[in-house]
């Protein structure tokens, strides 16, 4: 038994009862970061279906809304979307469409279930259409994404991979694993994922938000210096 446990540790197989793990955690965004594969793993009883989601905070987001004005399209107002996470990634052992809709909605096991929770202000008759548009916009940014059949359950554990988009802002994200058996939730576990800026991006973001006057002056001085230096380079290069 001890030998089996040792082999499992060496192979990186989570032990039965091991907590939900996300790697890497924290995600460190440095100068050349352009997204990464996140590995999720944990323990799962044989025969269970596991879905792992990662969600950002549900902060209100303000959008322009396009509509028809006679034959033309224009911004006809604004709409605030609240109650939906700004980022939502979900990976499942099977497509959520194979599960009862009520179960998917109650446990937010797909993108549709997530946007259903969004409330719109001002509310109107076309809220459903705008929720779909919100989802399509988020999908186009890579902030909402579904990874079907990306989780495998074997030998008492589950593991899978999700792609973390480069556009996700730093902050705290909630990771949740939902275990299903015969159409019922049998276990739910959560973890916290931290995303932070480091190195040059971290320094610039700190300067921009904490020392904004210095940041403004620096932006102007360097922009002008680049312009004038390029002018000098061309002059020395024998320009007219």
């Amino acid at each position: 038994m001890r030998r089996c446990a040792l082999i499992a540790i060496l192979l990186g197989v989570p032990r039965v009862g091991a907590a939900l793990t996300v790697e890497p955690n924290p995600i460190r965004i440095a100068a050349t970061f352009h997204g990464l594969s996140l590995r999720v793993s944990g323990a799962a009883a044989p025969g269970t279906q596991v879905f792992v989601s990662i969600s950002g905070a549900a902060l209100p987001e303000l959008f322009n809304r396009k509509g028809r004005l006679g034959p033309l399209w224009a911004n006809v107002g604004s709409v605030t979307v609240s109650g939906a996470p700004h980022l939502f990634l979900i990976a499942g052992i099977t497509p959520a469409a194979t599960l009862p809709r009520a179960l998917v909605d109650a446990n937010r096991l797909d993108l549709e279930a997530t946007v259903k929770q969004a409330s719109l202000a001002p509310a109107g008759a076309d809220d459903e259409l705008l929720r779909r548009e919100y989802r399509r916009l988020k999908e186009s940014w890579g902030a909402y994404r579904s990874f079907e059949r990306a989780i495998r359950v074997e030998q008492g554990s589950y593991r899978g991979e999700l792609f973390w988009p480069d556009g996700a802002p730093p902050g705290t994200y909630r990771v949740e694993a939902v275990h299903l058996r015969e159409g019922e939730v049998v276990r739910r576990e959560t973890a916290v994922l931290q995303v932070e800026l480091v190195g040059l991006p971290g320094w610039i973001a700190h300067l921009a938000f904490e020392r904004s006057a210095i940041y403004g002056a620096m932006s102007v001085v360097i922009a002008l210096a680049v312009g004038f230096l390029m002018g000098l380079v061309f002059k020395k290069g024998g320009g007219h």
Binding site: I29, A30, A31, T32, F33, H34, G35, L62, F63, N64, R65, K66, G67, L69, P71, L72, W73, A74, N75, V76, S78, V79, L129, L130, E133, Y134, R136, L137, S140, D166, G167, A168, P169, P170, L197, L200, P201, I204, A205, A208, S212, A213, Y215, G216, A217, M218, S219, V220, I222, A223, L224, V226, G227, F228, M230, G231, F234, K235, G239, H240
Partner: protein, 304 residues
């Protein structure tokens, strides 16, 4: 090579903003336009949030106009006296324009009004420039009728505080460039982009400045306005992405130098007909944007 843009919160291949900067800088150096009309939508197309695109664009305009002004100043194309007066009018006009836009937004449908105003103004200017420069290229403007001062010219000549602008070879009341730039500043603020596309034709056709001096002088005043906007956007709105702006700036300053050299090899009317072609293309693109069904009905609030 990818670089992470900390304010835009996006990773981008460095060659993309460098190339975009080069293209827009080339136009800037060639025609004296800031390029905001082109750069912001292009940046949004590659996934930069609108507010960050607009603010970082103002930073690269500062860099490109510094480079362009430097190049034009060496060629003797900057009328500093006129440029200074224009700057006074432009700043005043911009401040009035910001208030006008606030009023329009309170009345509702402001964006639609702005877009339609933009299309109409660009369409009229583009068409007029195109016809005029085509006529000049065909040698039709050397008639006596064309040389006679127009009624507008006579009115301008009757205004007080007339002064000469030797670099431009013109004589006007000091109120003329100030009022003109105030008007352009108002329009530019309402339409949400720099006024280069209106300013250059106004300087050439209303003030009767030579095209090359108009380009150099306009770049000179853009340098100051873009600098002010960059500082405000960076320090108040925190929307200038420094890394993006530097890469754009490197591309655009290089482009601006090349643009200024190409411009020097072309005659004024040749430059005007190319510029009018671009203005008309932008106009057509905007009309298409108004008529075609959008891919998405929602867009993030902010930006131009």
């Amino acid at each position: 090579m990818h670089l992470f843009l900390p304010i835009a919160a996006k990773s981008i291949n460095i060659l993309i903003p460098f190339g975009l900067g080069g293209l827009v800088g080339f136009l800037s150096g060639m025609f004296g336009v800031g390029g905001g009309f082109l750069m912001t939508p292009l940046l949004m197309l590659v996934g930069i949030p609108p507010t960050v695109a607009a603010a970082s664009d103002s930073c690269q305009i500062a860099a490109a106009s510094a480079s362009g002004t430097f190049a034009h100043a060496r060629m003797g194309n900057v009328d500093y006296k006129l440029g200074g007066l224009m700057l006074v009018g432009g700043i005043g006009g911009g401040a009035v324009g910001v208030q006008v836009i606030k009023l329009l937004r309170q009345m509702g449908n402001a964006d639609f009004l702005i877009m339609v105003t933009y299309v109409v103004v660009l369409g009229l200017i583009g068409a007029y420039m195109f016809v005029e420069s085509l006529s000049t290229l065909r040698g039709r403007v050397h008639s006596e009728a064309a040389r006679r001062p127009s009624r507008a010219g006579r009115i301008l000549a009757a205004l007080p505080l007339q002064t000469s602008f030797p670099k431009s070879g013109i004589r006007h009341s000091i109120f003329v460039p100030i009022a003109l730039c105030a008007l352009v500043g108002i329009l530019a603020a309402i339409m949400g982009v720099g006024g280069g596309f209106i300013m250059i034709p106004a300087m050439v056709y209303l003030l009767r400045m030579p095209m090359h001096v108009a380009v150099g002088t306009d770049l000179f005043q853009i340098l100051f306005t873009a600098t002010g906007v960059t500082f405000m956007q960076a320090s108040v709105n925190h929307t200038v992405d420094f890394i993006l702006a530097i890469v754009l700036g490197l591309g655009s300053t290089l482009g601006a130098q090349l643009g200024a050299r190409v411009a020097k090899r072309l005659r004024g009317e040749q430059l005007r007909i190319i510029l009018s072609g671009i203005v008309l293309l932008v106009c057509v693109k905007m009309v298409y944007g108004l008529v075609a069904t959008p891919t998405l009905l929602l867009s993030p609030k902010g930006g131009h």
